[in-house]
């Protein structure tokens, strides 16, 4: 199979499946190593991205999925009426950010940080397929451990957890500075 054909096969598969397809399956289909397959996909994605096309390929934790480019949105929205917009309450979003950054976490871990029971938020997130059970912690009561899903990556437009914005020590220090500057009123205690 020529290199061109391999790219064509990957295109056909990603188009047909619609959903994300794992690298090993794609590699199997074109009878190549995962490494070479990844290279072919990356090249193909580059081509799509640099030639004014309407579609592209998104990596999701070692899987790949075909999707439209963001700037096509306004032309599509009326026609498709499909939207993967997540509308989450602030408390669900807070809970989600804790799970995203601290996974694997238990309900108790989340509660400790938020200072309130987060059962409702956790259930909503499970419902939206943004988080999933990862297993159970080997501790009394065997509490469930939660982590984020592939749908989470899709909804936030990142290919893997490493791409999430990091909260650095620098930012923490900035926070502190800001707070100190804001402390314009001396409360004298």
């Amino acid at each position: 199979m020529s290199r061109e054909k391999k790219e064509a096969v990957i295109e056909a598969i990603l188009f047909t499946m619609g959903d994300s397809v794992s690298l090993d399956k794609l590699a199997d289909a074109i009878d190549e190593s995962e490494e070479t397959t990844r290279k072919i996909i990356e090249e193909y994605k580059n081509k799509l991205d640099n030639s004014g096309r309407g579609i592209t390929v998104q990596e999701l934790d070692g899987s790949f999925q075909m999707c439209t480019k963001p700037d096509m949105y306004e032309y599509l929205i009326e026609l498709t009426k499909s939207s993967n917009k997540v509308v989450l309450s602030d408390s669900a979003m807070e809970t989600l950010s804790i799970i995203a950054y601290k996974q694997p976490v238990t309900r108790l871990d989340i509660e400790k940080i938020r200072g309130v029971s987060s059962d409702y938020a956790v259930n909503r997130l499970l419902e939206f397929d943004l988080i999933k059970e990862l297993g159970r912690l080997d501790a009394p009561g065997k509490p469930i451990l939660f982590g984020t899903t592939e749908q989470f990556l899709r909804c936030f437009g990142v290919g893997s957890l490493e791409e999430l914005p990091q909260f650095s020590q620098v930012q923490m220090a900035e926070f502190r500075e800001q707070a100190e500057e804001e402390a314009s009123v001396n409360l004298g205690i």
Partner: protein, 272 residues
């Protein structure tokens, strides 16, 4: 100091505390504990919530603040290295974490707005492909199981059954386990509360015939509070606990609500 913000606006005690700190433009690392405690207590006084769960969370925080206040009046404790322990330290850590995740949540929200502009498509697998059933690969299917191994598996399976038969206890007579059907009990209690609208807890317990049934009744009441169908009040210490059906829940919602759904799902998930 008059605080006009409604308590409903706060997710919990930490949230309220953060609000007070931000409102006063105070550095988190240097919280004037006396002032904040006073404002905080002021707030709690305004609370008109009958929800004991919520109230207790806020009260716990108030107690923590007062505890810190006391410790700050006393000579500072010292660590083994001779450093002074700031009693506010733990609270500061908690507040910072909360602040950090709040910031992250905002960032995630922005990201989700951008990501929502990307559209995926449903699978359009050609029918022939979808219908195609590949021949079974028996080598993979059976792995390394051959005749000898199949025989072993069978023996182990039988042996496991033998293990289960306890030669001592299997000679005992049958001991009947008292079965209380949780679902039936839940159904009964729900119907009862819905009909009466207000029920005394003792009244519910009086209908129990065994210790087990009392426990089950208690658990069902807890669950109903948790899923927001009823609320409980107690006028004063040792009074009967009054159970009220929540007013804005419709009959359909009330009687149709299931308890313990979460557990069932979990069980289904772990089975094969």
């Amino acid at each position: 100091m008059a605080l006009s913000v409604k308590l409903d606006a706060f997710e919990g005690p930490l949230d309220l505390l953060l609000h007070l700190i931000e409102k006063n433009k105070i550095d988190i690392y240097d919280i004037p504990i006396v002032l904040i405690t006073e404002q905080y207590l002021d707030y709690i006084k305004q609370m008109e919530t009958a929800d004991m769960n919520v109230a207790s969370e806020f009260l716990l925080m108030a107690a923590t603040l007062l505890d810190i206040k006391c410790k700050m009046l006393l000579p500072a404790e010292v660590t083994e290295d001779g450093e002074e322990i700031d009693p506010r330290e733990e609270l500061v850590e908690q507040l910072l974490q909360m602040k950090m995740y709040k910031a992250m949540a905002m960032e995630l929200k922005d990201m989700s707005m951008d990501a929502a502009r990307v559209i995926y498509k449903k699978p359009t697998i050609p029918e022939e492909v979808a219908k195609y059933k590949p021949p079974v690969d028996y080598d993979t299917l059976l792995g390394d199981v051959n005749l000898t191994k199949l025989n072993m598996i069978f023996r182990e399976t039988l042996k496991r059954r033998e293990d289960k038969v306890d030669p001592i206890r299997s000679t005992f007579g049958n001991i009947e386990k008292e079965e209380i059907d949780l679902d039936a009990k839940t159904e009964y209690i729900k119907q009862y509360i819905w009909r009466e609208k207000r029920v005394g807890f003792t009244e519910l317990l009086e209908q129990s015939e065994s210790k087990m049934e009392v426990i089950v009744t208690f658990l069902v009441v807890l669950e109903l509070i948790k899923i927001g169908l009823i609320e409980i009040r107690q006028e004063k210490l040792f009074d009967d606990i009054l159970i009220d059906a929540i007013k804005d829940v419709s009959e359909e919602e009330f009687l149709g609500a299931q308890i313990g759904d979460e557990n069932e799902q979990r069980e289904e998930g772990s089975g094969n």
